[in-house]
Symmetry: D2
Subunit: 251 residues, 4 copies
Amino acid sequence: MAPPSKSFFAVIAGVGAGTGGAVARRFAQAYPVVLLARSEDSFKDLVAEINGQGGKAIGIAADATDAAAVKSAFESINKELPDFKLAAAVYNVGAGRALKPFLELKSEDLDASLKGNAHGLFNFAQSALPLLLDSVDSSPHPPTLIVTGATASLRGSARFADFAAGKFAVRAITQSLAREFGPKGVHVAHAVIDGGIDIPRLAQYKSRVNDGAPDGMLSPAAIADSYWHLHTQHRSAFTQELDMRPYVEKF
Amino acid sequence: MAPPSKSFFAVIAGVGAGTGGAVARRFAQAYPVVLLARSEDSFKDLVAEINGQGGKAIGIAADATDAAAVKSAFESINKELPDFKLAAAVYNVGAGRALKPFLELKSEDLDASLKGNAHGLFNFAQSALPLLLDSVDSSPHPPTLIVTGATASLRGSARFADFAAGKFAVRAITQSLAREFGPKGVHVAHAVIDGGIDIPRLAQYKSRVNDGAPDGMLSPAAIADSYWHLHTQHRSAFTQELDMRPYVEKF
Amino acid sequence: MAPPSKSFFAVIAGVGAGTGGAVARRFAQAYPVVLLARSEDSFKDLVAEINGQGGKAIGIAADATDAAAVKSAFESINKELPDFKLAAAVYNVGAGRALKPFLELKSEDLDASLKGNAHGLFNFAQSALPLLLDSVDSSPHPPTLIVTGATASLRGSARFADFAAGKFAVRAITQSLAREFGPKGVHVAHAVIDGGIDIPRLAQYKSRVNDGAPDGMLSPAAIADSYWHLHTQHRSAFTQELDMRPYVEKF
Amino acid sequence: MAPPSKSFFAVIAGVGAGTGGAVARRFAQAYPVVLLARSEDSFKDLVAEINGQGGKAIGIAADATDAAAVKSAFESINKELPDFKLAAAVYNVGAGRALKPFLELKSEDLDASLKGNAHGLFNFAQSALPLLLDSVDSSPHPPTLIVTGATASLRGSARFADFAAGKFAVRAITQSLAREFGPKGVHVAHAVIDGGIDIPRLAQYKSRVNDGAPDGMLSPAAIADSYWHLHTQHRSAFTQELDMRPYVEKF
């Protein structure tokens, strides 16, 4: 791993075994990375891995749905990386898929999705955007906020009222941010991940997803490559939204 | 006004000077109508008007964002109209457009929109859907849940992160309900109102909206006519979503 | 049937056993109707039926894909109904679904779809719009051009490249016309018919469509009711697009 | 420039001063490239440039709207590069924007757009897809068909009926191909270019587009970078559609 930038860092919220972790690895090839997750367990191995390979990673336990916790996490970042500017921020927190018939859903189910998706992004973006704006004139690539979406960002399926509500809301916020902050030089992009992600926790489903076709679930590293590409796009050609799905996925 | 049905009623949440009031008037031509609004002031004149013209209207003050209040309102309805079944429910509550740059928005602004739009619909639908399901075999028209959307249901404009989040979430829930309850015989429809509504409160803008063109703002009665049409659609040809806008509106 | 208008007429292109015929019957309750189809066989019984019930119907054989034939049909209309103005025009011509793997499609298959859908609408709209514009100030309802779409208007499914190309193109044209002619007072609407239509020719499929559920295919008369509603919308609340599908349809 | 692949080539239809030329340059860094355009003038300088820099380029004059000419071009390719397989095919032909009020459009205007956009892609894809299928097991990246779209792929604006019809049709075909050939291992992607492209021919508009903001028009090289990224995506995470627009573009 090449030594990371001495001026710019990246922050990823929602780091675990899947997309978030892969994005952290990918961005760590260029920047020190700050990993946020609710529980230290979600990032401690990865922080060790990146630091052990010549990169630089910092993990901070913070619940994105808690505005004060997010603010406090960004204050910690500022202490840890006082001379660094923010080049890229990735919001990859998912929440709230109770998968129940509507009349069995509780208000708390909806709340969990709206908090984890919409409020979490709101909190994260309010802390990240001022830092991204501050990097516009100097960042090696246009400063970038990337947000992870899902099939449910575009479609409210039966039994997905709670989850789709949160994911639709996230897409709304992301569009609004793209329109407000794009002209100021910040690239805001939304990635619709349309398929199962190939993570250990879901390995048991692998033989059933897309009839067990090889590469029938999204590789987190492949998603991360496209996030990195989004970050490096020239400001004359920003992508606001793209989808990603396995070649065998029905859509 | 012809005497209203002696078996079926309609309930409209979010009744005031605009769409909700007009929908109440339109549905009152066929059914007793129950009007819900946070404040009694919003419906008391209309209740009197409808009752004075041979129709039947009941007003109940209830905050849709308060799950207990909605539940209690439906219990009151059951007491007032014990032998009636629900033919149509309209959710027309709007909330949360702080119209501020994103970095000036407060978490409370987002919350107000998510609560008033998504949670309110959730509460209303959880009480209304069991009643609508109960009417499937007997209702003169397929029992119907109609939800009012806005331009911001489809588009997250700059400075609309809060409002669009709520409106996107509502659209997600409505789609999910259509897919779950359609096959059970309940018609769930979403109307995207794309333009300013011609209500007294907005009269001051009238000369500026669409260059002051006549009929340049949506007539609430015209919206109500389309809601009524949605209600009367045959179950072989349900509309899930339609837009409505003034002929002169840019889109 | 009440006697039809003595001042305004409607014209429907693509009349047969399904939507077009039902629309003709529905609009004949208010206006003399002109029925266009490639073959006289498609409309002659219906013309007789409408005229026999106190309505007024004229059938003209014309291929919508043939610009000269469409022009000539409108000249015939002008001779037959010299003192009438056009209140509503409906384009309901479908064409081109070869249902083949892409590499087996012929250029002619694509051409058939583009001609029957896009060119046909183009020809029809070029003749109808000047007449609709001429009715803006006097028509009982805003003069209306309604165009029939399909699932393939929004989605290019596998093996539907030809058909979807034509249907997408029709939607594009309809949107463009709505934006150009709406502000001049002409209502241009697009109906996405998402499901099988309950016509004699498809009766054999009925037991398989949506598991043979009752009303599992769209009733042409139900579609026609919504077309009539579109025609009667107030100009402050034009619908540009709506979908229609059976309550049991997966979507 | 590194020496290009000795096994795989790329073909780009619609090569000139803009996107097509930049895509050719970008893909020439990895593959021999075949450049198709109606006129030799469009590609001869670029062919010389690429060949002069250690790459390999072949230009073939062919009108994409002419099925026989496209077939013949692919036969020429086969003679020139007999031992090469096709890794990537890019359709970048645009046509048909008469920019006239609808009633002034001629049938020929619509035809030019449908031919140049839909038929051209059809012809190109029918020749390219069998070759791409043949590369699935050996290509360094999943064999890819990329199609250039525009704002008018998603929106039929006033006075754009002809152009939007062609661009909507192209999007329909591309979606259908993605669904048919994705599961076979071919990546089919559609790029919505939403803004003016920074090419010499449009330089005169540059001061007016987006108020003359720097990078206010899309850099063709930036578009080409994203096309290359699409080509390199892992088959578990294919993007079917992305948009690209200048940071300052209103949308």
